[in-house]
C-alpha cells in the first residue's frame, strides 16, 4: 500500500514536498535516477522515495548495498557520464562515509577537469527525535567549507519540494539537508505549478525591525515561535530563512542586518566553526558600520547530540535560549 503521490495545490508535509519533487523531476527528465539503501522496495527509511520504484522501475530506482562511499561514488560516476543521480543517505550522519569522494572527487572535478558533477546527496539530519549521537547530526559545515559544493537546507514543505527540484536541475553537486523533525510536522499547501525555489535565495519569513535572526532548517520554526512571544514584549524580530547555506544570499542577509542593525545567528549545529561563524565574519566585513551590537550565536553546545530526551532537550537550541539572546541584544 503506497501513499498517493502528493498533488500541487493541496496540503502536504515536508516529506510530501520531497516526494513530489522526486516524482516531478523523474517524470520530467529520464536522466534523473535515485539510489541508496532501502530506497526502492521499502521506499526509504522515512518514506521519501515511496512509490518511485513502482513508477520508474529498478533501472532508475536502485536499492544499493550498505555502503555510502559506493553510493556517493556511483552517483558521482553516473553524473560524469550524463545522468542526474539523487543519492539518499539513510541518515545524514552517514555522509561521513562518503566524505572523501564528496569533498575530493565531486567538489573538485569541475575546477580540475572542466567536467561538472550534477549530483544531489540528500537525507535526514537534525535532532529532536531522540536518535542519539549518530542519527541526529547536522554535518552541513563540512560541506559549506568545501569549495565546489552547494549546500541547501529547507525549512518548509514548499521549499523542500522547490529546492529539491532546483538541486536536481543544478549543474553542480548539491548536499541537501532535510530536517527529520520537520518531516511530518511542517505542512502547508504545496504551490500549483512547478514550485521551483532557486538555490542561493534566502526568504524573509517574518519582517521585523529590532533584531535580525539568521537561521535555517529547524531554526526557522524556533525563531518564528520566539518571535510571537517577543512581540508580546514589544520586541520585533526579523526572521531570515537562509535556505541555501552555500552560496549564501549575501544581498538578503546584508539588507536585513543593515536595517535592523542587530543580528543573531541561530542553528542546531554545534557552535565552534558552525555557520554562525561564517555569518558573523560576513557581517563584520560587510555590515560593520551598521552594527549596533555584537553578532550573537545561539547554537547547540560543542558536544555530541545526547540520546536521552532530557539531555537532548538541554542540548538543542530552543525558543527560550533564543529569546534570552534577543533580550540581551536589544538591551545592548
Amino acid at each position: 500500500m503506497i501513499h498517493p503521490v502528493p498533488v500541487p495545490g493541496h496540503e502536504g508535509t515536508y516529506v510530501d514536498g520531497l516526494r513530489l519533487a522526486l516524482f516531478e523531476e523523474m517524470e520530467r527528465d529520464p536522466n534523473v535516477i535515485v539510489l541508496g539503501e532501502d530506497v526502492g522496495v521499502y521506499g526509504g527509511a522515512f518514506r521519501v522515495t515511496e512509490g518511485l520504484l513502482t513508477r520508474f522501475g529498478p533501472s532508475r530506482v536502485l536499492d544499493t548495498p550498505l555502503a555510502e562511499e559506493a553510493i556517493v561514488g556511483a552517483a558521482v560516476g553516473a553524473a560524469i557520464r550524463g545522468l542526474r543521480p539523487v543519492a539518499e543517505m539513510q541518515f545524514m550522519d552517514f555522509i561521513s562515509r562518503g566524505f572523501d569522494i564528496l569533498t575530493n572527487f565531486a567538489a573538485r572535478n569541475r575546477y580540475r577537469t572542466g567536467i561538472g558533477v550534477p549530483i544531489v546527496v540528500r537525507g535526514p539530519s537534525g535532532g529532536g527525535v531522540h536518535g542519539g549521537p549518530f542519527h541526529s547530526q547536522n554535518p552541513e559545515m563540512y560541506f559549506v567549507h568545501t569549495p565546489g559544493l552547494k549546500v541547501v537546507a529547507p525549512a518548509t514543505a514548499a521549499d523542500a519540494r522547490g529546492l529539491l527540484k532546483a538541486a536536481i536541475r543544478d549543474d553542480d553537486p548539491v548536499i541537501f539537508f532535510e530536517h527529520k523533525f520537520l518531516y511530518r510536522r511542517a505542512k502547508e499547501v504545496l504551490p500549483e505549478g512547478d514550485g521551483l525555489v532557486p538555490i542561493g535565495k534566502a526568504a524573509v519569513r517574518r519582517e521585523g525591525t529590532d533584531v535580525t535572526v539568521l537561521t535555517y532548517g529547524s531554526g526557522v520554526w524556533i525563531a518564528l515561535s520566539a518571535a510571537e512571544r517577543l512581540a508580546k514584549e514589544g520586541i520585533d524580530i526579523e526572521v531570515v530563512d537562509l535556505r541555501t547555506l552555500r552560496p549564501l544570499d549575501e544581498e538578503t542577509i546584508l539588507a536585513s542586518v543593515r536595517r535592523t542593525s542587530k543580528c543573531i545567528c541561530l542553528h542546531e549545529d554545534t557552535r565552534t566553526g558552525g555557520l554562525g561563524a561564517e555569518l558573523s565574519a560576513l557581517l563584520a566585513e560587510k555590515a560593520f558600520e551598521f552594527l549596533d551590537g555584537p553578532v550573537l550565536r545561539v547554537t547547540a553546545p560543542d558536544t555530541s547530540v545526547p540520546f536521552a530526551p532530557s539531555l537532548e532537550e538541554a542540548f538543542l537550541p530552543n525558543a527560550n535560549t533564543l529569546i534570552r539572546a534577543v533580550r540581551k541584544l536589544t538591551a545592548y
Partner: protein, 339 residues
Amino acid sequence: MTDVSPEIQKNLYRFMLLTRLLEERLVNLYRQGKIVGGFYRSLGQEATAVGTAMALAEGDIFFPVIRDLGATLVRGVAPRQILCQQMAREGSPSRGRDGVLHFSIPEKGIYAPIAMLGTAVPVMSGMLLADRYLGKKTVGLTYLGDGASSVGAFHEGINFAGVNRLPLVVVFEFNRWAYSTPYEKQCGAMTLADKAPGYGLSAKIVDGNDVLAVYEAARTAIDHARSGNGPFLLECKTYRLKGHAEHDAQSYIDRAEIEEWKKRDPIARFEKRLEDDGVLFAAGRDEIRHEISRHLDEDVDWAEAQPSPLPDYEFRGVYADEDLLVERQQEIFVGGDPS
C-alpha cells in the same frame, strides 16, 4: 554427541531464553511508548549472539551490534541496565548519552561501537594490537551483519588484522536481510566466508540457529585466533524473524520465508535437543523460565522507577580536562543561565 558440559549447555539455554524474555518485555515497553528511539529485536538470532559470546574467555573483548543483546547478557550485563539503557534512564551504562547497545563496560570486555557499521573492525584491530604489545592474550570479536560486510571499513580493518595476524574473530550474522535489502542485492559472493581467501584467512560456516554448533565453532575460531593464526571469519547462518526494528512490518518479505525460518527457532530446537540428550527436561526448563520471569518483573519495575538523567548545562565530559571549554558552553545560554 557433544563434549560441551551440561552446565554450559544449560547456560546457553538460559541466556537464549533470557534474551528472548527480556526482549518481550522491551517490546511491551515499546508499545507503551516507554522505549526511547527505535527498538531492534534479535528474535530468531539468539543462538548466534549467545553461542559466540559464551565461547569467549575472561578478558576477551567485543563490540555488540544491534542484534547482540544476548552477547552482552552472557558477559554479565544486568537486564536492568539494558532496560535503563533502552528507556534512557539513570542507571543506563551510557548515562543516557547514547542508545541501543552502545555502551562500554571494559571490565566485562564490552565496548560501544559507533553506529557506522563496519568501523568496529579496524578499531578492534587496534585494540588487539595494543593488547598483544602489552603482553595480553586477548581475543577480540566483532559482529557484522551481511549488510555491514559491504562497508569499506570492514575491508581495511580485516586486511590490517590479517597482515598483522591479530587474534580477531569476525562473526558474520548472516540473516539474509539488511533492513529491506536482501543478500542478492548486498553482495555477489555465494557466502560471506568466501571473503576469507582475499585476506589469507581461515573461515567457517555454521548453522547460526544451532547454539551448540555456534558455540563449538566459536571455540574453534577463538582458539585459532588466540594461538596466533590470525583472524578467523565465522559465518553464522541465521534469520531475522522480525522487521529491522519494531516499526518495520517486513512487508517486503515473502511470508513463507518467515514461516520456514520460524520452524528453525533456535530456542525450540535446543529445547528438543536438551531433552533428547537428557540434559534438561520440561520441568527444569520451566524452572529456568520462571526464575528469569520473576527477576525480569522486578527489573522492569525498578527500571521504570528510575528518573531520566539530569542535564548538565555545562556539557562537561567532552575532554579529559572536564573544565575545558565549559565556559564557552555556558555562553550558549547567553549569560550562563540555562533556565
